[in-house]
């Protein structure tokens, strides 16, 4: 079972609001994962983001559930900038968990 989360309606084109990231993590990502669902984070419409936003979105999920949780999270419709920032966060979270 997959649970799709659209990021753009919560953040606009520039995903930088860490409060929004936290809400998505607590209200959408974690409950879906707890129910055994796979999570799809859909960045359609998001032009750019910040490391702080992506960190607030996923770092605690990785820290608490372990790096294997990435087998259950998919990042969809990410442009190059968004992809690269996600990779930076995933990299350093793997190195510290």
């Amino acid at each position: 079972m997959k649970h799709a989360i659209k990021v753009f309606p919560r953040t606009g084109k520039f995903a930088e609001n860490k409060d929004a990231a936290r809400e998505i993590r607590l209200n959408d990502i974690l409950p879906a994962l707890e129910e055994g669902k796979e999570v799809i984070l859909d960045f359609q419409g998001v032009d750019s983001t910040t490391q702080s936003f992506i960190h607030a979105l996923i770092s605690d999920v990785i820290r608490n559930k372990g790096i294997q949780i990435l087998d259950h999270i998919f990042f969809k419709n990410c442009n190059t900038v968004v992809q690269k920032i996600i990779k930076i966060v995933v990299d350093y979270m793997q190195d510290v968990t």
Partner: protein, 321 residues
């Protein structure tokens, strides 16, 4: 508090301006100006604006000498004269697009989001040049929200300089400052050491753990310094009595990223007038702006290497004696 606006204060020559300010007596602000002309980095305007707001908040007084220099209209349009309670007159505003972002006080996340949305059309820059600008403003102002506890919020302004084809940005607060913020989780006792740590990837005042907290990785200032470094621009961080300045990397040398700010070509100036809070200034040369995504590749490489090294430092080995 005293402030004299010289005829020129940009990141390259800002040191003498910083040495000249007086920040004691938060209730009274005396402002004087160069008589002829002034050409100033936005960070200088942000500092002046911050002191003016502080004086007003404390029901103090602001004394500004009459402004004769031709730069009067510019300071008025940036919103500084109003903050200094100086007489302004309705001038015929030029088309502002592509020129400047006036002094703006930002207190919360929603205001920041709106500010960034409105800022980019004013600067009239294409997306590849707008990305680092948005990035810098977002990360710096969020630092104010998360670390500074600033009674005036964050003060921001920006200016496009046509001749040098660059955007200069200032972000200033009157909060805790970097030393106090870093001391929450790290044993440091000087502004210099605190600034060094704040610029090191993976170090945050919120925890001593590598990787940061759920909300903060301690990467923001490192990213911003890296944006300036790769584009061979200036970056300035001033807090307490110390200023760190990333100097320009000459075109003849490779612009390499380092995790330690001490490995970059830089200057540290200590024993400056005490600035309660944090001052950040950055230049972004638009003609040299390396594509944002290729910059991210470089940051990824350096950041990962540094975190691995830090992880090794914390890795415990059995000790046999």
């Amino acid at each position: 508090m005293k402030l004299h606006f010289p005829n020129s204060a940009f990141l390259g020559n800002i040191d003498s301006f910083l040495r000249s300010i007086e920040t004691q007596d938060g209730q009274t602000l005396e402002v004087t100006f160069n008589k002829h002309w002034m050409s100033l980095h936005p960070v200088v305007l942000c500092m002046a604006y911050s002191l003016a707001i502080q004086a007003k908040q404390q029901h103090g007084k602001i004394h500004s000498e009459p402004l004769e220099a031709v730069s009067k209209h510019y300071l008025e349009r940036m919103g500084l004269l109003q903050a200094l309670s100086m007489e302004t007159r309705h001038i015929q505003a030029h088309e502002s697009s592509g020129r400047f972002i006036p002094l703006t006080q930002i207190y919360d996340s929603d205001q920041l989001g709106n500010f960034i949305t409105e800022m980019i059309p004013l600067l009239h820059t294409p997306s590849n040049q707008a990305d680092p600008i948005k990035y810098v403003v977002s990360e710096l102002v969020r630092n104010v929200f998360e670390h500074a506890d600033s009674p005036i919020g964050g003060v921001v302004c920006a200016q496009f300089f046509k001749k040098s084809n660059r955007v200069s940005i200032g972000v200033v607060d009157r909060g805790n400052g970097i030393l106090k913020s870093i001391q929450r989780s790290h044993l440091v006792d000087t502004d210099t050491e605190a600034i060094r740590l704040a610029l090191t990837p993976g170090v945050t005042g919120l925890t001593s753990n590598v990787g940061g907290t759920e909300s903060n990785a301690g990467a923001g200032l490192f990213f911003i310094k890296s944006i300036a470094k790769i584009n061979r621009d200036f970056f300035l961080l001033y807090s307490g009595s110390t200023m760190y300045k990333l100097l320009k990397t000459p075109q003849t040398k490779p612009a390499k990223l380092f995790s330690s700010p001490l490995d970059d070509k830089h200057s540290f100036v200590e024993q400056l007038p005490y600035w309660k809070g944090t001052v950040v200034g950055i230049d972004l040369s638009l003609e040299r702006t390396q594509s944002f995504d290729s910059l991210l590749d470089l940051i990824r490489g350096v950041y990962r290497l540094d975190i691995k090294e830090k992880g090794k430092e914390k890795f415990k080995q059995a000790r046999f004696i």
